[in-house]
């Protein structure tokens, strides 16, 4: 039995030798294991003191590297979201705005570490549900911007004229209300979208609607000259990219960014 004892002892020793922690900051330790994601980066495991207890955290790195391949919406909806939620519950982890945390109960450092490792690997595996192409974040960024500066009561997302256009063939990304004239906003991330916006604005004119219009390009410079010209001929104003819109919108359209007691239009 001496050989078995030796093998067991050697095995445990060598496994332990592969695991170490290193202080990096106040009450913060990097836990280093041989385990990595598929790209070779070590699993991000930090042991730190929070609110009188020790927690294991990935400091947001698991989702950060997932978003090379996946959109935010991929992480927040559908089957991926279900897997993430199930994994967190079964491992006792919490998701604090993208940071995965596991409080350590008593001195159960080993159990906690293995649960944490297992959860990170399972969550990372959601990328294999389907290999997604990372789309531009322009539309999401614009949505975030509009929702930040325009009160909810003053905006309608994906507006269409329900009476004249029940199937929503002519849709504006946003309709802003609360003044004598509503403002229609179009998010222009492709030439197809620009052409559709041109047709939609022309139809609104044929219906005799009273409105102002604003096009926000992802990158105006890359648009075909004729497509751009047709759109600019019919649209009231445009911003050549999102940064320009962020800088100038509140000043240019100050009447739309205030809360109102009741919408006027």
């Amino acid at each position: 039995m001496a050989d078995t004892d030796n093998i067991e002892r050697e095995f445990k020793r060598k496994v332990c030798d592969e695991l170490f922690i290193e202080q990096e900051g106040l009450n913060r330790y990097i836990v280093s294991t041989p385990l990595t994601f598929e790209d070779g980066d070590r699993l991000p495991i930090v042991l730190k003191r929070e609110d009188e207890r020790w927690v294991l955290t990935d400091e947001g790195h698991t989702f950060l590297q997932l978003t090379y391949d996946l959109d935010d919406s991929d992480l927040q909806t559908g089957s991926r979201r279900e897997i993430i939620d199930r994994t967190l519950v079964s491992g006792g982890l919490t998701n604090r705005q993208g940071e995965l945390l596991l409080p350590i109960q008593g001195d159960r450092y080993g159990d906690s570490l293995y649960s944490f490792i297992q959860a990170l690997i399972k969550i990372d595996d959601i990328r294999y549900l389907s290999r997604e192409r990372v789309r531009s974040t322009f539309v999401e960024d614009l949505k975030t911007f509009v929702e930040r500066v325009i009160p909810a009561t003053r905006r309608t997302y994906r507006w269409h004229d329900a009476q004249r256009d029940p199937p929503a063939n002519y849709e504006a990304d946003y309709r802003l209300n609360g003044t004598g004239t509503p403002l229609f906003i179009f998010a222009l991330d492709s030439e197809v979208k620009i052409r559709d916006a041109t047709i939609t604005l022309a139809q609104y004119e044929r219906w005799g609607l009273t409105f102002d219009s604003l096009g926000i390009f992802e990158d105006q410079e890359s648009v075909n000259r004729k497509v751009l010209a047709r759109f600019l001929d019919i649209c009231g104003k445009s911003f050549s990219n999102l940064s320009a819109a962020e800088e100038r919108f509140e000043k240019t359209y100050s009447e739309y960014v205030k809360e109102l007691d009741a919408a006027r239009t």
Binding site: T36, I45, T57, G60, F63, S222, N241
Partner: protein, 166 residues
């Protein structure tokens, strides 16, 4: 592995001239995603050889944890990561060479790691060539054949430019 890219093609893609658009600095300004504790930016660079994408990700929990990525869009629409300039997040292991790397490092796409079943950029080298996102971008632009837009002129802005101008 039907869609793997060999080392010759990887080198060619790195050497393809990539012209930055006029407003590239504004479009690479990272925007916060507080719900997942990160800031990010993407910028597509079309070329005659295909579409490249620059991706920037930075953690708002650990500001030293960031990535600047150069990816190429394969014919099937998926992204192939050619280079990835990583900040500090716990280190890296080159599994084939059995090397451990600590600190700032650059992931480099290789054929051998794809054949071995790893991600295309699972090989990395330690780097002292950058320490933050701006310097990582500068290094990537220098190493991966980026070109400034033709109308760029030296700025009177007293702040340092992202790319040193001659």
């Amino acid at each position: 592995m039907p869609d793997h890219i060999d080392d010759v093609e990887i080198a060619r893609l790195i050497s393809v001239p990539k012209l930055l658009p006029e407003a590239w600095e504004a479009r690479l300004k990272t925007r916060a995603r507080p719900e997942i504790s990160q800031k990010r930016a993407n910028l597509e660079i079309p070329t005659t050889s295909g579409l490249f994408t620059i991706m920037i990700r930075e953690s708002t929990v650990n500001v030293l944890d960031f990535s600047v990525v150069l990816a190429f869009t394969r014919p099937n629409g998926t992204l192939f990561r050619l280079r990835r300039y990583n900040g500090l997040h716990g280190g890296h292991v080159n599994h084939i060479e059995r090397q451990a790397i600590r600190g700032y490092h650059v992931h480099i796409a290789t054929e051998r790691y794809q054949i071995a079943g790893y991600r295309e950029d699972a090989y990395a080298i330690a780097s002292q060539g950058f320490a933050d996102i701006a310097s990582a971008l500068r290094l990537m632009f220098a190493e991966c054949t980026f070109q400034l837009p033709p109308t760029s002129t030296p700025s009177d802005n007293p702040q340092l430019s992202l790319i040193p101008r001659k």
